[in-house]
């Protein structure tokens, strides 16, 4: 696995105890590590060169702040510069007063355009828009069917034209939106190679025909060095306005996002983080900078947690908590909230320092699944009153959950601890309103 930059720099600077200014030699050694980290994150090598040169200039002779080690000081400078390069403040989707507004998505094959169209439509509908999706990928087999199926799922209308003229379909799609009183059109286009003249021409023609407010390029987060070639060509031929970075729920560092920003100047607007239609988020440059360096993304973590936390469950659990009757059902409910946040490994990847955990301290994700299975194998009465769970019940539950009796015992022990904790918290808190994550005694 890749080492994160802080760790790398820690070892570079471990020989140094002195404070004061960063020397040229120190900075050079640090820059070698920064370069490696960025290249391993798939930032384009040309971008890395420029970036490192810039950071070096700023770092040499810089005062090391009182509270920081030289390594931390370099990380601070690198992070600041990287965030600035990523675009500083969050860029926004620029729409106009025209009705309907038009957004067009472009990109290479397999980047995730069609799903992104549906996700974007879903997101913007939540913000009060009435979207129509237009299927202009007349090449890939069943691409139009795919968009239609997504439309049905979301209950968002889809315009599918006739024939194979993508430009005409786009034009008619916009007209169709007017007829249907839709105020937003999102156009799905075929995946195309940036070196395919004719197809690039088609994209440019669609753009001319419908004059979209925004053209967004969908880029796979796993893309390597070639991202800049593709993005430059798309910038030149269709002059897109922003980027949707897809498949960010994987573990790729996503250096392509940085490269594209650096080379084309186009901001990343959205991040696609899962296969579900609500897995589209507003992109955060600072979080991305940390991710590229392997330094965790606390902000995203907090957001994810908040989203996953279902208010009703929270209120419910809180009620019981105050009454001191936190049952296994509540425990299960909280577990499920946690699971909604994504795989534990994903979450851990966002916590700074968590990737420093030794291998054997790795979180046992199966424990979650196991605990869920165990509780599900209990009767309603057992869940409310675990004290009735005797030896033979334990055996039955273990068999039902496909675990050992030992696992059941462990789980019950953990729950008892959790319950005790909850009781204490409940009495301490009294009537004070408590919101947020309440996950006492999780099995890890």
């Amino acid at each position: 696995m890749f080492q994160n930059l802080t760790d790398r720099l820690q070892s570079v600077f471990s020989k140094l105890t002195g404070r004061g200014k960063l020397s040229e030699a120190d900075v050079d050694a640090a820059m070698r590590e920064v370069r490696m980290a960025l290249l391993e994150a798939d930032v384009n090598f040309k971008v890395v060169k420029e970036f490192v040169a810039k950071v070096r200039e700023r770092a040499v002779g810089a005062d090391v702040m009182q509270s920081l080690t030289p390594g931390q000081m370099v990380v601070k400078i690198v992070l600041e510069e990287l965030t600035a390069l990523m675009g500083g403040n969050e860029a926004r989707l620029a729409l106009s007063g025209r009705v309907p507004n038009v957004i067009m998505l472009v990109g290479l094959q397999g980047a995730g355009k069609t799903t992104a169209v549906a996700k974007l439509a879903n997101l913007l509908r939540k913000q009060g828009k009435r979207p129509l999706m237009v299927a202009c990928d007349v090449y890939r087999p069943a691409a139009i069917d795919q968009l239609e199926a997504l439309g049905r799922e979301l209950d968002i209308p889809v315009y599918r034209g006739e024939g194979t003229d993508a430009v005409a379909i786009a034009r008619e799609g916009v007209k169709n939106a007017v007829d249907r009183l839709r105020d937003l059109v999102i156009i799905d286009t075929a995946g195309r190679l940036h070196v395919d003249e004719e197809m690039m021409d088609e994209a440019a023609q669609i753009k001319t025909a419908v004059r979209p407010e925004q053209v967004l390029m969908v880029v796979d987060a796993m893309t390597g060095q070639d991202a800049v070639n593709a993005a430059s060509a798309f910038a030149e031929r269709v002059d897109f306005d922003g980027v949707i970075i897809s498949k960010l729920d994987g573990d790729a560092r996503g250096g392509a996002a940085l490269s594209i920003r650096a080379v084309t100047g186009k901001p990343v607007l959205f991040a696609s983080v899962g296969e579900k239609t609500d897995n589209l988020e507003v992109f955060r440059p600072d979080g991305m900078a940390r991710r590229i360096l392997g330094m965790g993304d606390v902000v995203s973590l907090i957001e994810k947690a908040q989203e996953a936390f279902d208010e009703t469950t929270a209120a419910d659990a809180e009620e019981r908590l105050r009454a001191g009757s936190f049952t296994l059902d509540d425990f299960l409910g909280q577990l499920r909230q946690l699971k909604k946040m994504g795989s534990i490994k994903d979450i851990m990847a966002m916590i700074p320092g968590a990737n420093k955990l030794p291998k054997d301290a790795e979180i046992d994700e199966h424990a979650l699944v196991r605990t869920e299975a165990i509780i599900q194998s209990m009767t309603a009465r057992e869940r409310v009153k675990p004290s009735v769970i005797n030896g033979s019940r334990r055996e039955r539950i273990a068999a039902g959950a496909g675990v050992t009796v030992y696992d059941v015992n462990q789980m019950l022990k953990q729950f008892a601890q959790a319950q005790k904790m909850v009781k204490q918290m409940g009495s301490q808190q009294g009537k004070r309103k408590r919101r947020g994550m309440g996950m006492p005694g999780m099995p890890f």
Binding site: Q109, R140, D145, Q146, V195, D196, E198, G224, D249, R253
Partner: protein
């Protein structure tokens, strides 16, 4: 659809022209093997997604070799490197299980790498050779995945076993294997849903599909990982995870008709010993080629 194919072939030849225009940057700068040459070579290899650590080692070794063997000029150095990479990529013990009969091939990979298209191309090629082919559609997740595969099956003129969206992929795979055995199929191709290697649930689901297929298939079962040539360093992690979940026997490297070189595949072959069997060079039915290590290595170092 013929307009579609026309467009494609035209696009492809243009791609090649563009590529050859870009090639030989390293040769174009003259025969001298100076410091600037080594720096440029390093950049070119990193730019081909070979990975910075691997490139450092490679260039180190190459510098040595250049000195020891007194390689006369830039071309000689590049040829030496290409030969070295080709040797690594060549796996003489590789069995082309796709060409064998009977054979069951499970096609897996990340979302959007080209699995379905590759299944379509493989089906077409095998059917053209007069082999009996059956396609199993175990992507019961993605919208219109079955419809897409259906069109490919029609193009190849081969039957398909499919099921409702949302059904257990393992059960479709089961049906496909049964049907293949009943009909004396030479080649059964099972398409699966794209999935991220980081999703435990989906990887477990895939293992289950593999288990069922292995249990039920009388024909030998192999797994083909479809990798996108534009993938960066994460490609190695992908291959590792898929390999540990289902065991990967070979790789199909797609989208080599773009400008990406697919250097990460070298890392995969090196670390996991998984051979590359096919390359994808376009969206058409005939755009799947056998993998040629020499050609690939030459293109990688800019000698293509």
């Amino acid at each position: 659809m013929s307009a579609w194919l026309d467009r494609l072939t035209q696009g492809l030849s243009r791609t090649r022209e563009q590529l050859s225009g870009q090639l030989n940057v390293l040769l174009g700068r003259g025969p001298d093997v100076d410091e600037a040459f080594w720096t440029d070579l390093e950049d070119a290899l990193i730019g081909a997604d070979m990975g910075v650590v691997a490139v450092n080692e490679m260039v180190e070794r190459l510098r040595d070799a250049a000195k020891r063997q007194a390689l006369p000029d830039a071309r000689a150095v590049l040829e030496h490197l290409a030969a070295e990479i080709a040797a690594e990529l060549r796996r003489p013990d590789t069995e082309d299980f796709i060409a064998a009969s009977p054979s069951t091939v499970l096609v897996v990979g990340i979302n959007g790498t080209g699995k379905t298209t590759t299944v379509g191309k493989l089906a077409k090629a095998a059917a053209d050779e007069g082999r009996t082919v059956l396609i199993g559609s175990a992507d019961t997740f993605r919208a219109a995945a079955v419809e897409q595969l259906h069109i490919w099956a029609d193009r190849a003129g081969v039957p398909i076993v499919e099921s409702e969206r949302g059904t257990d992929p393992a059960s479709v795979a089961f049906d496909a294997v049964k049907r293949a055995a009943l009909t004396g199929t030479d080649l059964l191709l099972v398409d699966t849903a794209g999935r991220l290697h980081t999703s435990r649930d989906l990887m477990a689901e895939l293992s289950k599909v593999k288990r069922i297929v292995e249990r039920e298939s009388a024909a030998p079962v192999h797994t083909l990982l479809v990798m996108d040539a534009t993938t960066g360093q994460n490609g190695l992690t992908q291959a590792r995870e898929f390999n540990s979940a289902v065991g990967v026997d070979a790789i199909a490297l797609t989208k080599l008709d773009g400008t990406a070189k697919g250097g990460i595949a070298v890392a995969v072959v090196r670390e996991l010993g998984i051979p590359i069997l096919r390359i994808g060079v376009g969206e058409g039915a005939d755009d799947l080629k056998p993998f040629d290590p020499e050609e690939f290595a030459a293109a990688l170092v800019g000698l293509g």
